[in-house]
């Protein structure tokens, strides 16, 4: 039926409610920020952002369980895969905003280390969130790229918000330059796919890529895959595009470091898994000597596996030599990216559940760890690992929580991180990838050394001061939630995995809409 509202009004726009909420809240905050007097505190704006994120989370929950909905010819797509990732982003952003309130309003900060504009800090975090939500929720290469850029550009500015701080400026500049090169690489790869298939819709692309392969364009398909993957590895900070991470993590304000290491990385994984599995799944070699086989599984993902292995080795080895806690966490996050790539590289039937499980565990343990790092380094006014010395005597609960987060990051039972790693490890064994599983174990053992280095500082080294560390309420809440989450997921991992499996049918990633 043609109404005077036109054909665009026929779409079910209500499915976009989470994105609209974030967009409206971000716009609202930016306008209020402009109209507020210059010296009044911007704290209420952050609370507005948190409320908006909670509301958006509620809308995402409303969207779950209704199958796949597509509007605008696949430009926007609601499926369980996107929804579960959106919940991870929203949780990560709420943690980040809570940390930011304390970070921006803490006292005794040197003039050059201050963030100049608090309002911008809050709404750029929300636009970055919006970008990652778009990245997880589209079946069109162009929309996915727009989401990627929205996230990237917002994070470039966020990294450089300490305008008068030399290190912050340096890291923002490095981030912009390497990020632009990565984006260009992604676009170059996508342009090959468009050239081969004549479409940007991932599902049409999937149909035509198979034909293009059989028509003798194998080489171009390999080139397209590797260019796109190399460019996207920038977002998850895995080899070969990992070198920006240490500098940027060190120079960025600590809440933004946490945001980059959790939300931005999860968004990268959402995009990588959706893009490659949807578009490349029907590239099948029918003429192979030993019967038809999927090119994605047998050839392309082998290289992803090798890159994942190199990420683990590089990240865990270089972390050994770091004395700056944020740089150490950067190398640790490179190694973690390697672990999370393993389910994708081995492509088991549980790839989605394993990736999501690990990302949830990673969200909890990393956010908790960064909240504590922020408090401790802010108090000692140094980012050296020695700032943790004697923490157990200053704030026993913080020290115990940090111990759990580090054990979880290292993958020691009983913690969320252990089971995340365990599932990945088992799937890698089942699929016969013994070398990848072996490297995972070996590098995990190496990682114990630097994680335990912090634990040793906290319990066994005398600190310069014995004064009790005052923990702000916001940080205490983050640490408590992350602590309960890390321990809880570690105690009942199967229930969590089953919950994800039952409520989020993640295989609908490759289903057409309306089924």
């Amino acid at each position: 039926m043609e109404s005077r509202w036109g054909p665009l009004a026929q779409y079910d726009w209500s499915v976009m409610a989470p994105e609209f909420t974030i967009l409206i809240v971000a716009t609202l905050i930016s306008v209020i920020d402009l109209l507020m007097p210059n010296h009044s505190n911007r704290r209420p704006l952050a609370w507005l952002g948190i409320v908006g994120s909670l509301l958006a989370g509620w809308f995402v929950l409303q969207n779950t369980g209704h199958g796949v909905v597509e509007i605008l010819n696949g430009s926007y797509r609601v499926d369980a895969f996107g929804n579960v990732f959106k919940l991870i982003f929203l949780a990560g952003t709420i943690f980040t905003l809570l940390m930011s309130i304390n970070y921006l309003n803490r006292g005794g900060v040197k003039e050059e280390e201050k963030v100049v504009d608090h309002g911008e800090f809050y709404y750029l975090t929300l636009t970055a969130l919006l970008g990652s939500m778009i990245m997880s929720s589209s079946a069109d290469a162009i929309t996915l790229f727009v989401g990627l850029e929205l996230l990237s550009i917002s994070s470039y500015i966020l990294v450089g918000t300490r305008k008068k701080h030399l290190l912050s400026n340096e890291s923002a500049f490095k981030y912009v330059v390497s990020g632009s090169i990565a984006s260009a690489t992604v676009l170059y790869g996508i342009s090959f796919l468009y050239g081969l298939t004549g479409t940007t819709n991932l599902f049409e692309m999937a149909d035509r890529l198979g034909q293009a392969y059989m028509a003798g364009n194998a080489l171009l398909i390999y080139i397209a895959f590797f260019l796109t993957f190399v460019g996207l590895s920038f977002k998850i900070s895995s080899v070969p595009y990992h070198m920006w991470a240490p500098d940027v993590y060190q120079g960025a304000p600590t809440p933004i470091t946490a945001f980059l290491s959790v939300v931005s990385k999860a968004a990268g994984f959402a995009l990588i898994i959706r893009f490659f599995i949807t578009a490349f799944r029907s590239v099948v070699d029918y003429n192979a000597a030993n019967g038809p086989h999927s090119v994605l599984i047998s050839e392309l993902l082998l290289v992803v596996g090798i890159l994942a292995a190199i990420s683990m080795i590089v990240g865990n080895t270089l972390a050994l030599r770091q004395t700056n806690i944020k740089r150490m966490m950067a190398y640790s996050s490179i190694a973690q990216a390697g672990y999370i790539l393993v389910p994708f590289a081995t492509l088991t039937s549980l790839i989605f559940e394993q990736t999501v499980f690990y990302l949830i565990a990673y969200l909890l343990m990393n956010m908790g760890a960064f909240a504590i790092i922020m408090i401790v380094t802010g108090d000692r006014e140094t980012e050296d690992i020695r700032s943790f010395a004697g923490l157990y005597h200053r704030a026993p609960f913080l020290a115990i929580a940090m111990t759990f987060f580090l054990l979880s990051l290292a993958g020691i039972p009983i913690s969320a991180g252990f089971f995340g790693k365990f599932y990945i490890f088992m799937s890698s064994l089942v699929m016969g990838n013994y070398w990848l599983a072996g490297i995972m174990i070996a590098t995990s053992v190496v990682s114990y050394y630097y994680y335990f280095g912090i634990i040793r500082q906290m319990y066994m080294r005398p600190g310069e001061t014995e004064a009790p560390l005052r923990v702000p309420a916001g940080i205490a809440v983050i640490v408590l939630i992350a602590f309960i989450g890390t321990v809880g997921v570690g105690i009942v991992p199967d229930s969590v995995l089953n919950f994800i499996h039952a409520n989020f049918p993640l295989m609908d990633l490759i289903e057409a809409a309306g089924q």
Partner: protein, 122 residues
Amino acid sequence: MADLYSNNYLIVAIFFILGLALPIGALTAGRFLRPNNPIAEKRTTYESGMEPIGGSWVQFNVKYYIYALLFVVFDVETIFLYPWAVAYDQLGLFALVEMLIFVTLLVIGLIYAWKKKVLEWD
């Protein structure tokens, strides 16, 4: 099909070679055809006939660039408004609402620039 795909790059290659050859050829030909008479007048900065003040290696005020950025706000607006206006009959009222949202967001950008004192020169 692989041949077809690579053949498309032939045209790109032709344009690339043409793009290189034309300026090189024109400048080389000019080098041999023109008389060589360097005088001090010719080395001064060109300012549309005005008497030049100082050299051309001066720092520009960064505001010029911010103005240029601000211009892009309106430039992009026009680019999107034009095809929208042409196709308005088929799109219906919904597209009007969408366009209003788009223009509002750009206006917020302008308010931002205004509040951040980009519109003032000093």
